[in-house]
């Protein structure tokens, strides 16, 4: 297999066969030339698209694509009674779904192994992040979801659906979650005569005086430090950023680094794997994540400003 990058159809068949039969050799040959089968350099992530407001039936939603990996996240708000321990805080519930459409490996009826793990990681990253903010910098966060202290608060249900699973699921899921939160529009509500919360519809808002909106100014959540993540694959001495599903299955050592926009390390996640991560590798992964963070921040800001123009 000398011609690893043939152009005519006959040798292309052979490349395909080589790829299926000796996947590790196939990838190592590419790595020798510092390039990957899809034409990326080692440290480069795939093209990323964020589009906000993809689901009209939700209060906030976002569709993100990293290469082929597609995530659809949507937030629905419901009014709930806050707990006694924290009367002026709302609540956020996060769930991650992998319906069988996303990958040939997922079987119907049996949930995917990866789904609960990603869901747990997501709630750890997002909720701890919020809790941490609130404790340390005095920034309101779960408190922003409060409506009437001790009586009513928002319960935010974040559901993320993976529509196409092609590697780096956590990165795409976290990005879609963050984007959905930044798109979240909190509806205006008011108290009615029986002291219950009712929605104020947009058109007759100014009509009745006694139904003063409870949350006139709190229409958006404040997200001060936003977490972004990058998954890398370690193989021998190579570090491959943003692996595809094929790369993940062949080279098994994954490292996920989550940094927030103030450059704090939120999570460094390496669940086993045959390659040991030494300090230098860790530092390289962190450096790659720093770069990626800037890219993602730019993409997210562009998506938000695009939406505001509309």
């Amino acid at each position: 297999m000398a011609a690893a990058s043939g152009s005519d159809l006959s040798s292309e068949m052979e490349v395909d066969a080589f790829r299926r039969l000796f996947p590790l050799h196939f990838h190592e040959r590419h790595l020798l030339k510092s390039i990957r089968p899809d034409g990326r350099t080692l440290g480069k992530a795939r093209d990323t698209i964020i589009s906000l407001g993809a689901v009209t039936s939700a209060n906030g939603s976002a569709l993100t694509k990293i290469g082929c990996t597609t995530m659809l996240a949507a937030i629905k708000l419901e009014v709930m009674t806050p707990t006694v321990e924290s009367p002026d805080e709302g609540c956020i519930a996060i769930d991650f779904h992998m319906p069988p459409i996303c990958s040939p490996i997922v079987r119907p009826g049996r949930p995917a192994d990866a789904a609960p793990v990603v869901a747990k990681q997501l709630s750890d990253t997002i909720l701890r992040q919020l809790r941490y903010l609130w404790k340390n910098s005095g920034m309101i966060d779960l408190k922003e979801l409060s409506l009437v202290s001790g009586k009513a608060a928002w319960m935010a249900y974040l559901d993320i659906y993976c529509l196409d699973a092609d590697g780096s699921l956590f990165d795409a899921a976290l990005l879609s979650a963050v984007a959905a939160f930044s798109h979240l529009q909190i509806p205006v509500v008011s108290l009615n005569d029986e002291g219950r919360i009712v929605l104020v519809s947009e058109d007759n808002g100014g009509g009745k005086l006694e139904k003063e909106p409870v949350n006139k100014e709190k229409r958006k959540l404040n997200l001060a430090t936003i977490p972004f993540s990058l998954t890398c694959v370690l193989h021998k001495n190579y570090i491959l950023a943003d692996p595809t599903a094929e790369e993940e299955s062949i080279m098994e050592t994954l490292v996920t680094v989550v940094l927030d926009s103030s450059s704090q390390l939120v999570s460094l996640y390496k669940p086993g794997g045959p390659v040991l991560a030494h300090t230098s590798a860790i530092q390289d992964c962190v450096a790659l994540t720093r770069q990626r963070l800037k890219e993602l921040q730019k993409i997210l800001n562009e998506a938000i400003s695009d939406m505001e123009v509309d």
Binding site: D113, R128, S263, S267, L268, Y269, P271, H278, T279
Partner: protein
Amino acid sequence: MEIDRGDGRKPNQLRPVACSRGILNRAHGSASWSQGETKVLAAVYGPKAGTKKNENPEKACFEVIWKPKTGQIGKPEKECEMILKRTLQSICLLNVHPNTTTSIIIQVVNDDGGLLPCAINVACAALVDAGIPLKHLAVAICCSLAKNGRVLLDPNKSEEQNMKGFVYLAFPNSIQSVLPEGSLQVGGEPVEHGIITSVTHGAMSVDDYLLCLQRGRAACEKLSVFIRSSLK
């Protein structure tokens, strides 16, 4: 040094560690591990013939079943299962028994912080007891970062909750090799400094993480001596 921990330990002091092997006579291998009030049992059955679907039949396959102290298995337990499975897969010689499945059952007896590291340690001990071929052992520890930036090793549950963040780390144990010194180094670092598993909770700066790494390594060296002596 000033003592600022609830139970009067020094920052680098671990809780009393105990390990015993071969406690269950029906299992192929078993072990118990306790660290302070945290106690975990592990049983190993296998290798049994055949692998599950979606697993590579050319290699040995592992199956981890996590039994919590009470109640049903939830998302956190699923995550622990996955981490433990991947960690054990990385320390075993998978080519010796291809197309087999080894089951590891972890029973939590009491959780007082640092559960995952204890589970990794006990699973290793049980694998050794069952005679499963291993490359090396995995030695795991929990390092936590106090609000004042101090690193405290092996926190218990009440400490874990008051920390800025904590890290579960697993390293390979130090290999007593016949090869000349320095031949097992990767980029100027000995093999036992490579991280097998790292799971963090809470935010910290990168430097703090590296500090945790350093302390964790030092502690794991001592722990690995203890494991070696208790497995003999």
